[in-house]
């Protein structure tokens, strides 16, 4: 037992004194008995603990002195090691800090683990929003929740406080904020009766809005604001960094179901879904239990309303699970790439240390001759590599902190977290762990190799052939393989991005200016005043020089709102599966297709003559026509949607409403003058698109703003951008990811080239004599070149084949990001492999030149 305790000492110490210490302990034991024996054990335990620590500490001091000497002798070496380690650790830590932020760290709310979102679930959609009556029933009947509320997104015009602005935010039931658990910095939450009909309007502001618009003054409480022309009293300000339900939310209003629609909350429409349920689980209730309870309730209600709620069930999710699988895949790719960089950095360092350890063989041999055991020498080398790694780790942390903003684009905006991750204990722990592992990873092999069989034979020929070189070769192979993985994966993702960018959106994005002018609020509740507004604005805009055409639409494709999906029923057709009969609904002014360059295949555009008193008309997309009237002429056919019957007057090309990578439902376009009064506000045309003849469409923006301001001074104009920007935003996340990934690939590429260079330089200098002999015996420069470069290419061939298979594996993992590109895409692989060959060539160039310049006479004289 005592002997076991002695294992706390370093092995070298134990080897010397173990048996003696045991003997002493045995003598002591003989002298004691009973309680004295127990006391002896306790004493001995602390004695060993204390002294072993001291012995370790002494050795550390010794190693530090050696290390200091090493540093003074070759600072360049130490700097290189620290820089490479810093790059590897920095890349990995930065990638981790972002992954931690998005996936691992609990959301910044008290009891975040009990917060869930609740959705309707249908055969094809796992997350559909809730209808108000379903929300109310689920809330009343479920027992799993401590509190249950609902919210929906909101954007509202703030007028009368300087420039009119469009604010993003949410309308919440009074349960939501207390359930989230974050208190306002000043003021209060919504009171329970403030989300009832007829209550006075109230609003809670975000910290940033409070600072920007109201100078952070407490006097804002009680102030009356005009939001969408409705007076609301400011009752509170949320703390800085509070983000719910999404980042950048600026205002929160109480949710009043009746206020949203003229029909009021009593509207029993169970298919009108627009709420997100949010609940806090009772302590001890699992997410699964809550889910089964909700599903039971949903099944009961489905029996009550078999038609409206066919196949509608319920699903609750951890609030954190809002991260989409694509975001997850992006982050995983990033993490994998950073690990590749770390691996390359480590192998590079191992090689560097190995070379160095071999150069230090004599020093080590001397120390070994003076009685230092192998374990002692290994320990010294490891201490050195750990110290270098720690310096690298400090540098890496610095790099990580500086680089993290680059990654911010990868944080989904719909997560209730701030854009930029702050370092927390997880990141620090991770960085420290990576540092230690790095130190061990690049230190262990060289330490073991360098100390194994160190000998003192002066002039012994150094490291020709032999195991050490094979090991170094293997390390270089690992580097090449890892860099091939990165290069090919980056190549695949670049190709995928090109492919997505090459996707036909269904419209021509060039030379189109777009603006968002939310024509909402009580004054624009009815259609006639709105029509007057559109007519005035469009006429003035069309009169501007350089404008080819202009039109209004509910919401532009690939814009901020991509939903607006309605069920379609066609006269005389019995829907076999109602969920397959969905289409997106938009209201447009004439000229919309012309402005966006959407081809009109059949019939006519909506016209100024399509007014509310004339028959309701619709233009549908190709896929819409093909879905309901395959092989027939769709013109004049009738269908119902949104509680009205429409007849088809035209067929246009399909448009990727939901984005370049997503499936989009077929489209129907209704006439802007046929919007019923008090129709759901989001459907009101509010996006303006203007096609210009040439030049940058954005140059038109000031003139257009002036026109809108003269038509409606209090109307905010937002999202002023070209249509091409809108389309480019589709691939912005990918671009951000590619920048990071590409950066990693470049680092990997450089490190691997340096690795090859280092290995070959070492080989060449060790083989100078051999080369000299060969040349003296008649070998040509070509032979020598072949010898050196041939070695490099052998390593490259092995590394590339390993790396290519690994890249194929990673391609399979990333398939969800490849946009249908095959993970064994020839172009990406060819490019990656060619680049690796170039890298090998570049890395072997200088050493090869040195080799052919060897002067046989000098080399032989040295022998």
């Amino acid at each position: 037992m005592y002997r076991a305790l002695l294992h706390l000492y370093p092995k070298s110490f134990r080897g010397e004194y173990e048996s003696e210490m045991c003997a002493v302990f045995a003598r002591h034991k003989r002298d004691r008995s009973g309680i004295g024996l127990v006391a002896l054990w306790v004493e001995t335990f602390f004695d060993v603990l204390f002294n072993a620590a001291r012995v370790h500490f002494d050795i550390l001091g010794q190693d530090l002195r050696y290390f200091g000497r090493t540093l003074r002798q070759s600072p360049g070496y130490a700097l290189t090691v620290v820089a490479i380690a810093g790059l590897g650790i920095g890349a990995t830590t930065a990638a981790f800090s972002i992954t931690n932020h998005v996936l691992l760290r609990p959301l910044p709310f008290p009891d975040a683990d009990r917060l869930v979102t609740v959705y309707e679930k249908e055969t094809h959609y796992s997350r559909m929003e809730l209808s108000p009556p379903n929300y109310s029933d689920w809330k009343a009947r479920s027992k799993s929740f401590e509190a249950f509320g609902a919210y929906t997104d909101l954007s509202a015009n703030l007028a009368g406080e300087g420039e009119p602005v469009r604010l993003k935010g949410a309308v919440l039931t009074s349960e939501v904020l207390p359930l989230i658990g974050v208190r306002p910095v000043i003021g209060r939450w919504f009171a329970a009766d403030e989300d009832r009909r007829g209550a006075a309007g109230t609003v809670i502001l975000s910290y940033s809005l409070w600072q920007a618009k109201f100078g952070g003054s407490d006097s804002v409480l009680g102030k009356k604001l005009l939001l969408d022309d409705e007076p609301c009293t400011v009752i509170g300000v949320m703390p800085a960094g509070f983000a719910f339900p999404a980042r950048n939310d600026e205002v929160w209003l109480p949710l009043r179901f009746f206020g949203m629609y003229a029909e009021g909350f009593e509207d029993p429409d169970r298919t009108n879904t627009f709420l997100v349920g949010v609940g806090k689980l009772r302590r001890g209730v699992s997410l699964q239990q809550a889910n089964s309870e909700l599903q039971l309730i949903a099944a009961q209600i489905e029996r009550q309303f078999p038609k409206e709620l066919k196949n509608i069930s319920a699903a609750a999710f951890d609030l954190h699970d809002e991260v989409s699988p694509r975001s997850k895949a992006l982050l995983m790719a990033l993490g994998g790439a950073s690990l590749c960089v770390l691996l390359i950095a480590c192998t590079n360092l191992a090689n560097l240390l190995l070379a160095r350890a071999l150069a230090r063989r004599k020093e080590l041999a001397v120390r070994s001759a003076m009685g230092a055991g192998r374990e002692r020498l290994v320990r010294q080398l490891l201490t050195e590599s750990l110290l270098l790694a720690m310096a690298g780790g400090a540098l890496g942390m610095l790099i990580a902190v500086t680089a993290t903003p680059l990654f911010a684009a990868l944080v989904p905006t719909y997560l209730p977290v701030v854009a930029l991750p702050s370092a927390d204990w997880r990141v620090l722990t991770f960085g420290a762990l990576v540092t230690v592992l790095t130190g061990l990873a690049f230190g262990v092999l060289p330490a073991l190799k360098a100390t194994g069989g160190a000998d003192l034979r002066e002039g012994s020929r150094s490291g020709v052939g032999g195991k050490k070189e094979r090991l170094r070769g293997a390390l270089v192979v690992a580097e090449i393989a890892a860099s091939v993985v990165l290069l090919v994966t980056s190549g695949l993702l670049i190709r995928a991005m090109w492919r997505i960018r090459g996707t036909d959106p269904g419209f021509r994005a060039d030379h189109v200016l777009t603006l968002h002018t939310p024509v909402t609020g009580p004054r624009y509740q009815n259609t006639l005043p709105r029509v007057a507004f559109y007519k005035r604005v469009l006429a003035d805009v069309r009169a501007l020089p350089g404008v080819e055409s202009a039109a209004y639409i509910t919401t532009l494709p690939m814009g901020t709102w991509r939903g607006g999906i309605w069920t379609v029923t066609v006269n005389g057709q019995q829907p076999a599966d109602p969920s397959s009969q969905k289409a997106s609904m938009r209201f447009v002014t004439p000229d919309f297709y012309k402005t966006l360059g959407i081809p009109l295949h059949l019939g006519r555009d909506v016209a100024e003559s399509d007014v509310i008193t004339s028959p309701l008309v619709a233009v549908v997309s190709d896929s819409f026509a093909a879905r309901y009237w395959p092989g027939e002429n769709p013109l004049g056919k009738q269908f119902s949607s949104g509680m009205q019957t429409l007849s088809v007057i035209g067929v246009v090309g399909d448009v990727r409403v939901r984005g370049l990578e997503q499936y989009s439902e077929p489209q129907m376009y209704l006439a802007y003058q046929q919007v019923k009064d008090n129709w759901y506000p989001p459907y009101v045309p509010q996006d303006l698109a203007i096609r210009t003849a040439n030049g940058d469409p954005l140059q038109l923006a000031p003139a257009v703003r002036k026109i809108i301001a003269s038509a409606e001074p209090q109307l905010p104009v937002t999202n002023v951008r070209s249509l091409s920007e809108l389309v480019a935003a589709e691939t912005a996340t990918r671009k951000a990811q590619l920048v990071v990934l590409g950066g990693f690939a470049v680092i990997a590429f450089l490190l691997a080239a340096i690795g090859i260079h280092g290995l070959l330089s070492f080989t060449v200098s060790n083989r100078t004599q051999e080369i000299g002999v060969r040349m003296a015996l008649g070998a040509t420069r070509g032979n020598i070149l072949q010898l050196i470069v041939g070695d490099a290419f052998l390593l490259a061939a092995i590394g590339i084949s390993l790396g290519a298979s690994a890249a194929y594996g990673s391609g399979l993992e990333l398939q969800s990001l490849l946009a249908g590109l095959s993970p064994n895409d020839v172009d990406a692989f060819t490019a990656g492999i060619l680049l690796s060959l170039v890298m090998t060539l570049a890395g072997s160039f200088l050493p090869a030149m040195r080799a052919v310049r060897v002067d046989p006479a000098t080399a032989l004289r040295a022998e």
Binding site: E16, S19, E20, M21, T44, D47, F50, N51, V55
Partner: protein, 115 residues
Amino acid sequence: MKPDSFLPLPAATFHILMAVADEDRHGYAIIQDVSASTNGELKLSAGTLYRSIQRMLEQGLLVETKDRPAPEEDDERRRYYRITALGRTVAKAEAQRLTQLVRLARKSGFAAGRA
């Protein structure tokens, strides 16, 4: 290394040097000797003893001796330690330092006796 650079000596080191001043001793004998000469007030633990010995060997204050006592008193496992010339010098220097210190203490009345 200069003898002065070792001063002040850790108590354990000084006691060990005194214990091996006139004969080579093995570890346990050192513990016993130190204990006897301090009337049991200082009982070196095995850990402290061997850590000190290791360091003193490195510093050259002690050497391990190959001379063994008569076989009937010997134990295979034991290792004997002998003071070196440097060890002796250092111990003397420490003793002198302490004497000096005591002299000063007397002068200021902290210790009994004449200055």
